[in-house]
């Protein structure tokens, strides 16, 4: 075999590797789904349940929202798994990370407050901090630069919430949900669709 043929082989390997770069499982719709679920639950919990003066309504709203979000996530993942043409290592790592953070959100947002580990008023701050960490790691993993911005929005929002009086704490969290989760989710979804069209 001459050097020219070896060079052609190397070029072929490089070409094939570059073709796999853009293949990551669609994540935008999961971001948007959970963004809307949490935003709806937060609005309902903050205004409807608190005005009724019955804390159990707030708990029921959050548990219902988590159940609905989990059900739709499971249905989307099942459909994607059957339809997907390629699975990358990042998809597997991202999947495990999503599951791990989901458990962390459940513990921090529902289980620990219910056990009295910390008061309910700290839930948005703790879960917001976890959301920022999740977005930061996701940004590093997939090299999506705009998600770094989303992570910092969440961390700044939790800091603002911690400094504000209790009755105003929800506002920075709503801001973070819209600008740090739902809008990046739609941007991601648009980017994925564009990537598929360009292929």
């Amino acid at each position: 075999m001459n050097s020219h043929k070896a060079y052609e082989d190397v070029q072929l390997i490089k070409e094939m590797l570059s073709k796999t770069k853009r293949n990551v499982m669609e994540s935008g719709k999961y971001f948007a789904l959970w963004g809307y679920v949490i935003l709806t639950a937060a609005l309902c919990s903050d205004y409807i349940a608190n005005s009724l003066g019955k804390p159990w309504v707030s708990h029921a709203i959050w548990l219902g929202a988590i159940a609905i979000g989990s059900l739709f996530t499971f249905l989307f993942i099942s459909a994607d798994k059957k339809r997907t043409r390629v699975t990358t290592f990042f998809d597997r790592i991202g999947g495990y990370m999503g599951g791990g953070f989901g458990i962390a959100f459940l513990l921090a947002g529902v289980v620990y407050p219910a056990l009295g580990v910390y008061p309910y008023s700290t839930i948005p701050i703790i879960t917001g901090m976890i959301a920022g960490t999740f977005l930061f790691i996701t940004a590093c993993l997939y090299q999506w630069k705009f998600l770094f911005g989303a992570a910092f929005i969440w961390w700044a929002a939790t800091l603002a919430a911690a400094l504000l009086p209790f009755n105003l704490q929800a506002w920075p969290i709503f801001f973070a949900l819209i600008f740090g989760y739902i809008i990046p989710g739609h941007m991601l979804h648009y980017k994925e669709r564009k990537g598929q069209r360009d292929e």
């Binding site: 075999m1 072929l12 590797l17 990358t88």
Partner: protein, 107 residues
């Protein structure tokens, strides 16, 4: 490894099989249509090459159904990874410049 001793794996040393292994090295698993699209091979040609790679133990093939249509999913085996790495080492050896004898004995 010098150029004279380089022995390229004949099971990998065809453009389609090398392309398939390169793709599978970068992903966890890929279906038949994805490999066909990326390699530019015809269905019959790709099927033949995939069968050869599977016989050689370099890839594993799982056949399932999606919406009543057959779906073939391929992934590289540990043996496939090992032989691919060796193949790349051979290519590197072939492409590396010859080092004069007097320089290699220094130091």
């Amino acid at each position: 490894m010098n150029k004279e001793s380089v022995h390229l794996d004949p099971l990998i040393h065809t453009p389609v099989r090398l392309a398939v292994l390169s793709l599978l090295m970068a992903v966890e698993e890929a279906d038949f249509m994805y490999l066909k699209e990326k390699t530019g091979a015809t269905e019959g040609n790709l099927s033949t090459h995939l069968a050869r790679l599977e016989e050689g133990g370099l890839i594993s093939i799982e056949k399932t159904f999606f919406k009543k249509r057959p779906k073939t999913v391929c992934s590289i085996t540990e043996e496939g990874k090992r032989r691919f790495h060796h193949y790349v080492s051979c290519l590197e050896a072939l492409l590396s410049p010859e080092i004069p004898e007097e320089n290699t004995s220094e130091g």
